[in-house]
Symmetry: C2
Subunit: 364 residues, 2 copies
C-alpha cells in the first residue's frame, strides 16, 4: 500500500470542519424515535443514568436522527414486563437484567450472571471473546430479542440481616428477601426465600416479617435505609459475583436497521457497559463509609455457609441442565470458560489484589 | 412532555432504511485520513489488533469519511517517539502506553498505571468518575496531546527468572530487564535494572547476561519463548497491577475536529478499552496452561520482597512529589482514590473471588 496516499491534509480540513455549526450527518437515514423502558427506578441513578447516557450518545452519533427516550418502570411498561413488551413490539428497547426472566427459562440468567459466576471483567471476556454473546443472541432469538451488554454492578453485597447467621443451623427457617436462583440456593440451605417488592422491604424488615433482604451494593442500598432496621451487612452476594445489565432490542427491528445504526448501538452499548461499572466503583466506597458510620456492621458469610452454597449451586445447575437443553447448551461451555478464568485470575490478579489492598490499609 | 410525540413509526421506517445500500451519513463532514502509529509490534496482536479494531469502528461510524491507518513501530515512527511525533504533528495519533514517556515527566505514568496502583477496573473508575481523565488531559495539554483510554492488560506477570529469588538477599545484584518506575523500585531493593530492547532479551537470558526479564502476561510472553531459558515464572507484576493503553490525539487537531468526530473517537475508545481487556482475559488462561506444560514453574514473589517493594514504591512517590508539582497534583487525589478503592474492593469483590476462584479448583 502506498503510504503517501495516506498523507494527511487534516490540519486544514479539521479546522474548516470545526467551523460547521451542525454537521449534516446521517442524511438519507431514517429518523427514529424509539422508546426504551428501564427495569430500574430513577432512584437507582447509576442504572437509570446509564440508560440515559446511552440514549444521549446514540443521539450524538446520529445527529439526533436516532432518538431514544428512556422511561422509568411503570411509565409505559412495568419493570418485569419489559421482555414481553419488546417481544411483542409494544416498545422498541428495554434496559434490564435478563435474569428477571428466569421464570420463562433459566437460560436467561447467563446474560446477567449466575450464582458463583463470572466477575464483571470475566463476563466481558465471556461475552466478547468466549462465545457468550453469540450464545445469548441465539437463545433470545426465539423471544424476538437481541441483547446488547450495557453495564455491570460488580460483585454485590449479600444483604442486610436483622441478626447474625454463622452456621447452617442459623439458616434453617431464615426468611430472606431474595429472588431468582439466589433464592433457590438459600432454600436448599434451609432458608425461606421471600418475594417482596422493593417499596415494601423496609417495613417487612422493621416489623420482623423477614429476617434479611438483599438489594445491590452500598450506593444503592444506602437510599433504602435498611441500616436502621437490619444493621448486619453481609458479603459477598455469591449469587451475584457480577450482574450485567442488557439493552434488549426487538429482533425484527434490529434486523431492519441500517448497519450504521447497529454499529452505533453496539459501540454506545460497550461504552455504557464499561462506564456503569466505573460509576458504581467510584461511588460505592464513600457510601460504604457512610453506612458504617450510620451503624452498619460488616460481616462476611461464614465458610460453612459459602461451601454449602457452592455445592447447592452446582447441584441446581446439574438438575436444570439435565432437563433443559437450552440451558445445557450455554452451561457446558460457560462452565469450562469460568473454571479457566478462575484458575488464571488466581495467579497475577488475585495475588496482587490480596497483597496491595491489605497493605494500603496498614501502611500509611 | 407529550408521550405521544414519541410514538414510534419505526417498524416501517427501519425496514425501509434497511434497503439502502450504503447509508449516506456524514455528508458535509471533512474526509480525514489520519495515521496512528502503534508503540506495539504486530506480534502483540491483542494490542495491535485493538488499534485496528478502533480504526475499523471509527470508519463504520463515519461512513468511511474518517479513516485511520495503523502503523507498526518503525514504519513511520519508532515506538518510543510516538509522543514527540504527535506533539509536533508528524502523525495525528498514536496508540501507546503513556508510561513510556516518564523520562520527560513521571506524571505520564498515571495515564497507564503506577506500581501498586489501580487494577484495570479501578483505573476506569478513576479515569471516568474520579477526575483522572481530566487531570491527565490537563497535564498533557502542554505536550499538545489529548489522551483517550484505549485498553488495559490487567495485572501483568512479574517475569521470567533463571533462578529462584526468595529473600531480599537474593535480590542483591540481581540483573533484571525491567524499565520505568518498576526498575527504580527493584533498584531500591538492590537489583540492577537493565534496559534491553525486546528482540535482544532472549539471547541475554540464554547467555545469563541478565537473570530475569519481565514482559506482559502469558499470551504475549509465550511468543518470546522465555520459558526455555528462564523457567521460573514469577507473579504478580506489582509494578503493573493494571496497564492502560491510550490513544494520543494531537490537541490542535482534536480541537479542530467537529464534535461529531470527537464523540466517535471517545465512544470507539471506550469500546476498545473494554474489549482489549476482554481479549487478554479470554486468551491468557490457555496460554498459561501451555506454558506450564512447556516447563514454566509458577512462583509467587515472597511476602518479604513484596513488603519491601511496597515501602520503596511509596518512598519514591514521596520523593517525586516533593520536587515535581505536576506529579503531586495528580498523586494526591489519585492516592486518596486508590486507598478508598482498595478498601472497598476487599469487601464484596475480593471475598467473593478468594472463595470462588479456589473452590472451582477443588470441587468438580
Amino acid at each position: 500500500m502506498d503510504r503517501r496516499k495516506f498523507l494527511s491534509t487534516t490540519a486544514v480540513g479539521a479546522v474548516a470542519a470545526g467551523a460547521l455549526a451542525a454537521p449534516a450527518i446521517a442524511q438519507g437515514l431514517p429518523e427514529l424515535k424509539w422508546r426504551m423502558s428501564s427495569s430500574f427506578p430513577k432512584s437507582l441513578d447509576t442504572l437509570f443514568g446509564g440508560a440515559e447516557s446511552f440514549a444521549k450518545r446514540v443521539a450524538q452519533l446520529t445527529d439526533n436522527k436516532f432518538q431514544i427516550r428512556v422511561f422509568a418502570p411503570g411509565e409505559i411498561v412495568p419493570a418485569l414486563q419489559n421482555l414481553d413488551a419488546v417481544q411483542n413490539s409494544t416498545i422498541e428497547m428495554a434496559h434490564t437484567a435478563s435474569y428477571y426472566f428466569v421464570g420463562k427459562d433459566p437460560t436467561f440468567a447467563f446474560d446477567t450472571g449466575v450464582p458463583f459466576g463470572l466477575t464483571a471483567r470475566q463476563q466481558n471476556a465471556w461475552m466478547n471473546h468466549g462465545g457468550g454473546l453469540q450464545l445469548m443472541r441465539e437463545f433470545m432469538a426465539s423471544y424476538n430479542v437481541v441483547p446488547i451488554p450495557a453495564g455491570n454492578t460488580g460483585t454485590q453485597m449479600g444483604g442486610w440481616f436483622r441478626k447474625e447467621i454463622k452456621t447452617l443451623d442459623d439458616v434453617k427457617g431464615f426468611k430472606f428477601r431474595i429472588a431468582g436462583m439466589g433464592g433457590q440456593i438459600w432454600a436448599k440451605l434451609g432458608a425461606i426465600p421471600q418475594q417482596i417488592a422493593g417499596g415494601d422491604i423496609f417495613a417487612a424488615l422493621e416489623r420482623g416479617t423477614i429476617d434479611a433482604a438483599e438489594w445491590v451494593g452500598p450506593y444503592d442500598d444506602e437510599k433504602l435505609g435498611f441500616v436502621k432496621v437490619a444493621p448486619y451487612y453481609y458479603y459477598p452476594g455469591f449469587w451475584e459475583g457480577g450482574a450485567q445489565l442488557s439493552i434488549m432490542v426487538g429482533k425484527t427491528l434490529w434486523e431492519g436497521l441500517p448497519p450504521f445504526y447497529q454499529h452505533v448501538l453496539e459501540t454506545a452499548g460497550a461504552e455504557v457497559n464499561l462506564d456503569t461499572t466505573a460509576r458504581y466503583d467510584a461511588v460505592n466506597p464513600q457510601a460504604l463509609r457512610r453506612l458504617v458510620a450510620a451503624g452498619a456492621q460488616l460481616r462476611p458469610l461464614s465458610r460453612e455457609i459459602m461451601a454449602a452454597a457452592w455445592k447447592a449451586t452446582h447441584e441446581i445447575y446439574d438438575e436444570i441442565a439435565a432437563k433443559n437443553e437450552k440451558f445445557k447448551k450455554v452451561y457446558d461451555p460457560w462452565r469450562a470458560f469460568r473454571d479457566e478464568q478462575f484458575l488464571w485470575f488466581r495467579v497475577a490478579e488475585l495475588t496482587y489484589e490480596n497483597f496491595a489492598f491489605a497493605a494500603s490499609q496498614t501502611v500509611k
